[in-house]
Amino acid sequence: MDTSEDILQQASPDLVRGSGMARRTKPARLSPSFVSWLQAGPMMLVFLAFFLIPLVFVVIVSFWDYNEYQLLPAFSGRGYTDTFEGCIAQLPDLCTIGRTYVMTLKLCFLVWAITLFIGFWVAYFLAFHVKSKTWQMGLSLLCTIPFWTSNVIRMIAWIPLLGRNGLVNSGLVKTGLINQPLEWLLFSEFSVVLALVHLFTFFMVVPIFNSMVRIDKALIEAAYDAGATGFQTLVNVVIPLAKPGIVIGSIFVITIVMGDFITIGVMGGQQIAAAGKIIETRVNALQFPAAAANAVILLAITFLIITMMSRIVDIRKEL
């Protein structure tokens, strides 16, 4: 558009100016930067009102004092000092918050690794093995079907399956593979990871699939022509080009799992520590500043992880 106008202007400046006046009833043209601000504005306002301002409040409240029934708006580091209570005194043993984060990070790592593995191969299959666009669309829609029911239902559905007298255990006992029901199937780290993987693999599939379909098929043909094996093509062509999708999917999964307390609570029988669960316990006891302090710590750690990941891949550049 601009180019054609430039050409026209060179050819006949008057004509263009004239036609411009005729086309626009308001001669004052909005500057491009203003238009950009206008376009980004609504999102920015939503972000400001529902994320940044509340976040500022959380940080402020985390430095307040409290008693049994109210917040005391006086500066106090109690929320933080209580949280790190015993962290030096108990060395070399870990303190409560240390143990909680070790457990949270462990669950987070397991869920991330498994969802990445499954998500990558599902996306790979959809992008490279399913030839027709219609089938690709159809199959990726199929992946969304579990999302038609609520998170909670998909999670709770595991309980009758995995229980002591559940389907899996009674099946295994009947086939004679085991004599005693397996206790670790439910209310254990296993069941927590299983439920989280089930809930969040799709968040890996979508961005990775999105990156993969945009890989130029000619590149893969070129690799093949150059004599690369399938594995070499995967490592040297597909994975590097799918990296933005992998990082975005990883950010989804990691941020969700780091803050989760419902799934860990229900599937872990409320006996597994999680950063989110500490916050929940504090909020339930009306100790809002302590809860806010824990939220700030959780946010800082999650932010650190995300920053490290975006160091590996510059998402903005890749998109």
């Binding site: 209580d82 002591r164 007298n165 206790e183 669960k277 339930n284 006891a285 100790q287 302590a290």
Partner: protein, 429 residues
């Protein structure tokens, strides 16, 4: 023309007359049950915040029928009810909450004490609340936040609990019970008589407690006392050392894999027990009844160390005044007048005014639920489903025996903040 007009006038008048007559007749006979509601200038609506214990559909329907007051339930968990009172005191009118949360609610100034003189049946409220003894004169354990410690305020807007009776009542009592362990006798196959059994390694991986720190720790304290390890001055108000000691016992049990899961709501406790995930756990009476109504053996086992009790009642939001306050009194008076009490008794809870509830129950029902006698006929739930066959006896027996056996009450400790931190440590261990 004139003739016709006259005729029409007459017929219209006749029509009006007869309609009015019919309406009057219907109103008189009580056929139009919503009558006061329809006629009042503004609809009588009360927003009722509480846990689900008292919130039966049948109760709100009957209330509308009897008083014209429409109840809008706002249901939340115990913790969330307290949170809401603190943070959004104008989002409800009537509050239904437990006595132990008063230590937080009263100092916040967000609730309004009710006037005992305006409660018709106040004099008939069971002495469990007013004197700390059963109608038969048995003394009830006073450890924890026992209702009679926090029943009265010193003045209308006072934030201090009065030791003697005043007319300013924090919560008008409605419902309460004595809680103990639920067990699966078909799997345990031997008598259980002590709280110590909860942490008996025999039930490794098959025990559970409530996932509310302040209540869970009291169950643990019952176990500690039962094993003879320690005797608390007040299980509902421990010192830091006592909290450490109790949590240590709990942590050892958790590390040894004693607990299958902690439960948070009614249905979770029912599912754990019914599916055989647990065979011994702290429980609520109607949850035991629910498991039993599924055809699974479950006993609300009385134990020699006694029960852990809880009680709840009504107050109003500080924002309620004028006509709305009058409706609130009308509603509370209605609630104590019998229908609701009988409804609660039939679920295995206890009502605050026994005489009015008794009048709304069949003699055989009263004998089964309150007197601990074998059921003369089949015992049915308020919804008509079969709970117990004729001949059954209630676990724990009569009202006197059960309430008389209460050892302690649900509580908020002075060291609550420390306890919550220790609870997080316990979960992380």
């Amino acid at each position: 023309m004139t003739k016709t007009t006259g005729k029409t006038g007459v017929s219209r008048r006749t029509l009006l007359k007869s309609t009015a007559g019919l309406a009057g007749l219907a109103a008189g006979s009580g056929a139009i049950t919503g009558f006061p509601y329809v006629m009042s200038a503004e609809p009588k609506v009360l927003r009722y915040l509480g846990t689900a214990v008292n919130e039966g559909d049948d109760i709100s329907k009957q209330c509308l029928k009897d008083t014209g007051i429409k109840i809008e339930y706002i249901t939340a968990t115990t913790d969330d009810v307290t949170k809401r009172v603190m943070t959004q005191p104008n989002s409800f009118d009537v509050l239904d909450t437990e006595y132990f949360s008063l230590k937080k609610l009263v100092p916040s100034g967000n609730i309004l004490a009710l006037d005992a003189k305006k409660i018709k049946e106040f004099g008939n409220i069971t002495p469990v609340f007013t004197k700390g003894e059963t109608p038969g004169g048995k003394k009830i354990g006073n450890q924890g936040t026992a209702p009679w410690k926090v029943l009265y305020l010193e003045g209308k807007d006072s934030k201090t609990f009065s030791k003697t009776a005043t007319e300013f009542v924090t919560l008008i009592p409605t419902v309460y019970n004595a809680d103990t362990l639920g067990i699966r006798p078909d799997i345990i196959k031997r008598p259980i008589s002590s709280w110590a059994e909860l942490l008996n390694p025999e039930f490794k991986g098959k025990a559970s407690i409530l996932n509310i720190p302040s209540i869970g720790i009291m169950d643990a304290a019952m176990v500690v006392e039962a094993t003879g390890k320690y005797k608390y001055a007040d299980k509902g108000n421990m010192t830091k050392e006592e909290i450490d000691l109790t949590m240590k016992v709990m942590t050892e049990a958790k590390k040894a894999g004693q607990f299958r899961a902690f439960w948070k709501d009614f249905n979770e406790s029912v599912n754990l027990m019914a599916s055989g995930e647990t065979v011994i756990q702290s429980m609520w009476s109607p949850a035991v009844t629910k498991v039993r109504s599924m055809g699974i053996a479950c006993t609300f086992q009385p134990l020699k160390e006694g029960y852990r009790s809880w009680a709840s009642g009504f107050c109003v939001s500080k924002g309620v005044s004028g006509a709305k306050l009058e409706w609130a009194y009308e509603f509370v008076n209605w609630f104590l007048s019998g229908y609701a009490g009988a409804y609660l008794n039939r679920q295995g809870y206890y009502s605050a005014v026994l005489s009015t509830a008794k009048a709304h129950m069949e003699p055989y029902e009263w004998a089964y639920w309150m007197e601990g006698k074998p059921a003369e006929k089949d015992i049915k739930a308020p919804d008509g489903s079969l709970l117990e066959k004729a001949g059954a006896v209630r676990d724990g027996g009569s009202y006197e025996d059960r309430m008389g056996g209460v050892a302690c009450w649900n509580a908020v400790m002075d060291e609550n903040d420390y306890m919550v931190r220790k609870w997080n440590e316990f979960i992380a261990a």
